[in-house]
Amino acid sequence: MHEYPEIDALARRPLMLMQHEDLPDPLNPRHILFLDTETTGLGGGAGTVAFEIGVGRITSQGFAVTQYVMRDYPEERFMLEKVRQQILDSEVLCTFNGRTFDIPLLRTRFLMNRINADCLDLPHIDLLPISRRIYKLRLSQCRLSRIESEVLGISRPNDLPGSEAPERFFRFLKTGEFSLLEEVLAHNEQDVASMLLLLSHLCAQYTRPEQISFQEDLFSMGAALEKEHHTRESRRVYRLVPSGRLHSPSQLRLAASHRRDGQAERAKEIYLDMIARKEGGVEPYIAMAKYYEHKEGNPALALEMTRKALILLAEPSLLDSSTVQDTRNALQYRYDRLQKRLTKKGI
């Protein structure tokens, strides 16, 4: 049994914010089946077998992990039948990278054993893409072990690397020494347990983003919400990004989001604020130039903004790359065009 502090955060609302698959409503967290397999290889073809399948679910006593191991190939079918029953008793599957690995692999195993695989079509929360969206910027890679240490604060001092599991199983088959599998089982149990921790933690973060302490995670969450069209939530998160490296990108995205919804005034406030704080480089100037020209019909102010942007670009910079060159050309073009328009008007 495992106990978890954030388990109360586990709810349908935040889950629907972090992924787009429809989930049962109401959602009983006890009907989520956490699943992880240990396999004879990573090939993913018809000859790769899951020799161990761990499933976890929340019970009144805590989090219960059940592990099914086949002691030899003829037991595979029996093991799969058991797992199938577990899945049939659940409403949602939760895995880490299950969408591309565990579930297709199980589908293959069911098929090879001529067992109906329809149960695998259950709604599925795959934690890998969700975590990637939130933690990739900070952690650069999102293996479960890395998330455990950097996000959940779990350390696994004597963990068996997952890649050694096949070899352990083959040796067990040859020798019958069950102790060879003990570390595999421990590894798998921790994987399943970490999934619940991670899912609860994600739910807590989505519910109370103000408690997120890393600006990278906040910014990433804002972007993820925006991508899934949770506009209101994404703006709330962007606003939470503290001053620092990611503040201006957040502000720019926030402003763009308002502009897309036709809230030009809200966007203007943000851009002007950025200009006042000398933040975001030329982009707020360009945005304001467009705003003055097209919204307020004030080419003079637009020209002024363009001029300031050009001055900003004229300052020597280490990043004088081709994109900067392109921006400068575009600004110059805008500048000339506005000026022409103004002179014409003057005549």
């Binding site: 004879t40 073809g45 190939y73 003829p74 293959t108 096949p166 040859k174």
Partner: protein
Amino acid sequence: MNVDQLADVLRNDEDFMQNVVRWEELPAQEARYAAFPPQLDPRLIPVLEKRGIHSLYTHQAHAVREILDGHDVVVVTPTASGKTMCYNLPILSEILRNPDTRALYLFPTKALSADQVNELYDLIQLSGADIKTYTYDGDTPGAARKAVRQAGHIVVTNPDMLHSGILPHHTKWVKLFENLKYIVIDEIHTYRGVFGSNLANVLRRLIRLCDFYGSHPQFILCSATIANPKELAETLTGRSIELIDDNGAPMGKRHFVFYNPPVINEQLGIRKGAMGEVRNISGMLLKNGIQAITFARSRLVVEVLTRYLKDMVRDPLGNAGRVRGYRGGYLPTTRHEIERGLREGRVDAVISTNALELGIDIGALDACVLCGYPGTIASAWQQAGRAGRRKASSIVFFVANSSALDQYIVAHPDYFLHRSPENALLNPDNIYILLSHFKCAAYELPFEDGDAFGNAPSPDMLMEYLTDSNILRHVGGRYHWMADDFPASSLSLRSAAEENFAIIDITDPARHKVVGEMDRFTVPMLLHENAIYMHEGMQYQVEKLDFDACKAFIRQVDVGYYTDADLNISLSLLDIEEEVNNPSGLSRALGEIKVSALVTMFKKIRFDTHENLGFGHVRLPETDMHTSAMWWKLPDDLCASFDNDQLKDGMLGIANLLRIVSPLYLMCSPQDICVVYQVKSPITDKPTLIIYDNYPGGVGLAQKAYSMQRLLLEKCLEIVTGCGCPHGCPSCVGPVGEVGLDGKQTAILILKDMLSRSDL
């Protein structure tokens, strides 16, 4: 001018006719038609009529009937005889009747599959039926793959993709496997030797999975003219197959002209080069508006000829789009554009390597020029078959080069005209190949006690062997895969490394563009630094060859020469596995050798005059291949009875005999093995005859040769003594021009002596 008029003009041209050693006319053949067979779904008939097809040729009708009656067939069809109808019609008919029906089309190359799919699309579109045809190969984008797996009625792929992309992942293809009714394999004549043996085993795996899913597909195979299409089809599939070869397609009259370039130096017997003569002949065809294809034996000759012909027709802007080169290494889009240009008549002349020998649809042309003999009768006929209108006459020129083989063919036109084309041989039970595929099969689906693997001999022994090697686990009557690897990934069906170099044009510094690609083996020859690389008749100089990144950077130039690199092949000994060393007997051994190919220098050759302008050095790493080999070290006392030249000619003769005999008994294609002779071999230090596998790592051919060495030598002797030629011909020791007057006799003496050694 049409072909018949041109033929008349040429026959009256004394200068031309002086060099013609034979002018053969193959008579026209009338079309033979048959009504639409009653088995064909009637909904297809209006579709065909929309395309102007009101009846079928006899062989098409025959094929449709047999296929819809449920028989496995092999259709033998010359070029442009409406081959694809033979399988498309019955399959569309069956899908119309039962929309669950699935079919799998296999073509040897990606280029061919793309071509055939287009033709199929047309038919389907006209029928208005919802029949989905998809190509599934390395180019299929990941996002589209799911749709192909789920919904494709007809899946078009190649053996390599079937082997590594479909069979190991069969559970993702349930729909296909459960409903697979037809397996179409086109161009089966290309599946000979090791490639064919690999395919035969891929098919064993495919059929085994079909059994698992409860489907029983039929085979429909197509072959170009070879000596043994039925036997080849039956060996590939392990089934007895109906042969359909009553070609009913019409064919206009064909002129076959054997042309030998004139002697320019009587004393030395030197002839004019074939390339110059081909330039004149192809140029004449071009000037007279006769659409023609010219086949050359190397990419270099293709490019040089392309340039010559382009120069003849350049417009004031320098464009010469009517003349195109065609070879492997052009980008697929370029190739498709050329193919379309040929079909639509916008291209009048194409100069190609054997890349256009296969059934890529370029329509029928008026004329064909063979610049040199392509090496086998079958491929010469394939190339010649590119010319041949259904109604009008066509003409084929064979222009001999100065090699002994070409000179023999041109001196004995009947050898070519009346000898049956080569057999295509393969051996699916080659233990190396069989075992590799058996592993793949075991991975795909566990074997059960008593299971067969197609008609492979003793599968139970293979199962036991793999169990003993801890790759399979025998438990509960089944053999389960027990290894952490993916066997299909370590097995390539073809010998050549697939890795290609990109050729990048950097003439415009702002716009680098990829103009083509080339396989690793050819790169040192054509893309070494300072090489003049020719592409579609344009000249480029190679500025930099980045061997590690697989890139060659070229810049456009205009110089009056081209370059030709020298390739040196050397053999060295790695390991001896088995050896019999007997001073009085015949010493022989089996072992591993390293075959190194190294380009060290290149020549600069002036256009038009072909004079040598100088040399350049090439600094490139060797290309190595480790493979297995067997060799005979000739006894000292035997060698002492000949002078050096005699010995050399005799050994050359035996090597040629072994090249003819070995594929027959090793059941492989001539390209699968190499036979070399060395008067002072670095392996043995003595005169030595060597047979080695032309595959990295070897595929067991040398071992097999070692185990049947007496038989091989006996057969060599039988052939050479039974051959009616006086001093040698390509069917025995090789043409007299190569082996000399005594070569045949010396070869016989050496062979007799080798066989007489008591311990062999």
